[in-house]
Symmetry: D2
Subunit: 353 residues, 4 copies
């Protein structure tokens, strides 16, 4: 199913970048949890364009309205619908793109799939679709916090600049959202240089969940790794995901990567907190490969719908590096995945009130 | 749900390494397709232990029986159940492991999840669970071939040895399943050295689908990337997945990684054949990070269930590198994912007979 | 999952009777179908309170807004979200009910399930929840009509008054929605008498689908009968469903009820158009038992939340017979069920463009 | 999806009447529950043909084998696969039916759906498919019993003979499975008369769950009524289902059918134990309309596949009334539905160990 994520904590996002608005319906929220509108808005503001000099300069207020499922600040157990109206829609910017397939974009694939295409800003492939995920993720974060699960995240690489620290509070103090202040400054330079050359750069985002008890997740098809793989690779512009030691571990030996557990703590965390698909009590660590934004101002060769190619520069206000804005989305997807795993474990082992 | 993969072409695997047997039920196989028992057995033989000097020396015949859903070699449209009986079960080998949590293994996480543990060989975390996937994948491969979709795969890295060629027929001619004959020889040496030192090595497996038309997959939550992320990270011992340019692309610029399409062909394939979650007509390319096998003969520190640690060497017949045996499983998961996407696209756009 | 119906044409309704509004998200609408806002509004008006002297006198405009998924009157293939704002909310009417469990209502069951209760009008058990179903059903009806499938319905019994005719256009010409003008008049008297006595009456609603080709539906768990059973019994106040000959057939013999098919037409329709769970080309006929509305003005004994009972009369504006308003909901559920079955059959047998 | 029932306690049945065997895989069984092979076999024996003079005289031993998921008599939490081999297959009996569409049967609908047909005994529409349901239901019954939920059932009408008693233990003491000894004798005469005239009769089966706590089930789409509607109408040869007062209630007034609850007990049970889709603590009562078996020995007019009609008598060993054999199947479906609802309620409200 196209727009639904999760089984027990199931979200369905809706909305195009141009139209009445974007939003989400959460089906499966347990009753009795505090739902804090301000906390939801805060997460949306982290995702919002126009936050800093290194994000797109589009201005969207992105005010969220809760339509249902919450009464006097508490979840009712019924579906929670949330809506963000579209405002700053410059369809005109997209008129020149009506007849071409942009390189790197999904234009051609969409056209082949649907035989039609809403050229006004990407339709469902627009980054605005992630608003609903972030709003739902904020609610999941709130619920998870009641059982001691907390999620942090940041940009840990931009082009070739690597963060060597994981000072998570720092991540919210620089525009790159990097948990390493020194690296953040270098990353910012790299991004500004790309922006000035009407180009974009890629990077890597890392998200971490602390306090997840051992026992969440399933052993075969719905390994927590697998659910996280789906969660992260459903974020626009991601092309890779790794858990714990990830690809680096493929260069090592078993005697190096077998995390030794002494009954209380692990000496290492190559498994990224997940063994055999099930949380093992260690921190859950996920890294996501973010490709350079496909929307760039440079003149590029494009196929015309009626045949032939032409050279076109895509006007508009682009993100030179989307990593800072992917961070809250990746955190949301981690929260949504864990929320679902938590409810599954309650179904499997829970005792009723 | 623990053991089910896919929505329209839905498989459920069952079985422990010790017990009556392992198998799979396919629910959603369309009617009228040839189902070739020999082709299924061939795929199982590629996954089978004891194939060569660099796989475990366990001997399991792994003969598959089709219980239902096929009549006179053709699918009926009803569930196809397949069963492989267990034979070579040396439970004795596992007796010393009853009271410890092995490093790298899922023992502790399982115990926390289920409050009990079948110590006789790993239960559902045993590699034998993948038999059902491979059998189902063989049927998916056969069906996909009728519309021109073909799948190949191989080991493209072992420790630090990289394959530089993609000569796919070669992959079936060496025990490493490497599509580069020179690299294969070096990989084999690396694996044998690890085996002789009672250790294991990791690597990377690549699988490729050719002939997938543009338009399969979905734009948001069920991006083809996301489904493949789940598919690959549900394979035991995998800790990373990337599509096309993957993590490498995160080091580049948009002007380098935007695949230019001239209306007929792509100049590059950084997207790995998937744009905005939807197949774009290019080859689909997926790479999977395989960790070093956690079962090694070396003496390791292990936590005891009753507290404290001890040094234990795990007896048994281990795989020094599981990449060669992961190849058919990863191919199967790619086939299952594409089969499901194909049926979804038929639902969305198909015309009835 | 609580609020989701369908697999391939999946709808999720949201909203309480008191709050921001009620609505629906359709996930899985194929692209390229005309979506007619006026036709959707027309169906909502059929369900609306205040239509006639024999429905509740609450006044709700129930204007629907399409938030997404439709561009220039055509479905995009993306989720279609629709919203109806709440307006006429007299929470005050419900204040006396805060501390009692009303007989026939779900108050007690809700309280046991959720440990809290939104007493302002029933929350999700409010009939307003069905607005989303009717809006989604209108879109399904439009799509089904393009392949010649048409749905009609009406009230065929009220208390002991049976309709003996099936003059479907007549059903929209009397307030009871009965396809038999003579019976309609008698039904109206029966309903008015109950209303005047602050009571309610039950009845039976019948819905029929014409033009469904043979081959839709599945043979075992997802028999079309089973899906229709779920669809109809998910409508508030329904307590029975039968297909074709239904309960009456249980009194007959096989030689009487085996529908003879001569290769072109059926001599009878005891199967109600469904054989072995699969449409057989005959009209699909479904009847739904509607209980007397539980909200009545009569004084009734009620349990108090803090123990003991008291006699309470429930103020408010009640429906003396909800059959006329169940008709469009039952038609919608039939349309949604068939839409899903159609897409499944396309997945199973469809050929791509 | 064709052959899968349930979400958290998910079963998939497989197998044709002719072929390797029939069976079931349960995905979602929680760990630590006793699984009693003898109890499963006992339920299968209740469903078995050849039990008495009024069931078909086919002889099938129907011995079940547990292939996985159970270790030392306790569920592991992994999929439980069970297999019953086919034995008494008289394909020859079906040869004359190869070229005709039998009246009342699904032959024509199947042919239109699949473009092929396994004429050897009905394929998936064979009653043998229900073996897997009964085996899975036996396990669900065992688990439910640990929380005080018990299920009984019986035949409460055959043709026009009604049971007026609900002496459930009696139901297992007569071949009709009727909970009223006097009615049972009359029912038996009616059935024998139909059998002697090479005909069949219909009836009604009732199943009851005692001890279900208030709070199971969901308020909108997955009302317990709706899930039971799907469960019962997925049983072969059923064409109606009603909960509690059912169709009879549609003749009454609200003041008669609103069950008064005094805080401890209900004065009546018109709701059949389910209010607003959620269990209310009262007994859950479900009745199922069973049509006369479509397989009869009488000569009937049948359409030929190549056009025209002919008169054919279907040889074979038929059930003159399938109610006695539907009873264990309906009980199993009730158990499966409640098991799923229980796990859902644990997910919603459960506390972990």
């Amino acid at each position: 199913m196209s727009s639904t994520f999760g089984e027990l904590f199931k979200i369905t996002t809706f909305g195009e970048s141009h139209g009445g608005g974007v939003g989400v319906v959460i089906d499966g929220m347990p009753p009795g949890f505090a739902v804090d509108l301000a906390a939801i808005q805060l997460e949306l503001d982290r995702r919002r364009p126009g936050q800093s000099a290194i994000t797109t300069q589009r201005q969207e207020a992105d005010r969220v309205e809760i339509l249902s499922g919450v009464f006097e600040g508490v979840s009712l157990g019924s579906p929670i619908a949330m809506l963000v109206r579209n405002t700053d829609q410059r369809s005109k910017d997209y008129d020149t793109l009506k007849d071409v397939f942009r390189p790197g974009h999904a234009d051609y694939a969409y056209f082949e799939k649907y035989s039609l295409r809403d050229h006004r800003g990407g339709g469902r492939s627009s980054g605005r679709e992630t608003l609903g995920r972030v709003a739902a993720g904020a609610i999941a974060k709130g619920a998870l916090a009641t059982v001691g699960v907390h999620i942090v995240g940041g940009t840990v690489r931009v082009a070739d600049v690597e963060a060597t620290q994981r000072d998570w509070p720092q991540a919210e103090m620089n525009p790159v959202r990097c948990p390493d202040a020194d690296a953040a400054r270098m990353m910012q330079s790299v991004i500004e240089k790309a922006r000035d050359e009407r180009d974009s750069v890629g990077g890597v985002v890392e998200v971490v969940a602390r306090g997840v008890p051992a026992g969440w997740g399933d052993p075969t098809m719905d390994k927590l790794d697998a659910r996280l793989g789906a969660a992260m690779l459903s974020i626009p512009a991601t092309k890779g995901v790794e858990i714990g030691g990830g690809f680096g571990m493929s260069r090592l030996r078993g005697s190096e990567t077998n995390d030794v557990f002494d009954g209380e703590r692990y000496e290492t965390n190559f498994a990224g907190g997940i063994s055999g698909g099930i949380s093992n009590g260690n921190e859950i660590v996920v890294r996501v490969a973010v490709r350079p934004a496909t929307s760039i101002g440079k003149t590029q060769k494009m196929a015309r719908k009626d045949g032939g190619t032409e050279m076109v520069a895509i006007e508009g206000r682009h993100d030179p590096c989307i990593c800072p804005r992917v961070v809250p989305v990746a955190e949301a997807m981690l929260a949504l995945t864990l929320m679902d795993a938590w409810l599954h474990q309650r179904a499997l082992r829970g005792r009723e009130r």
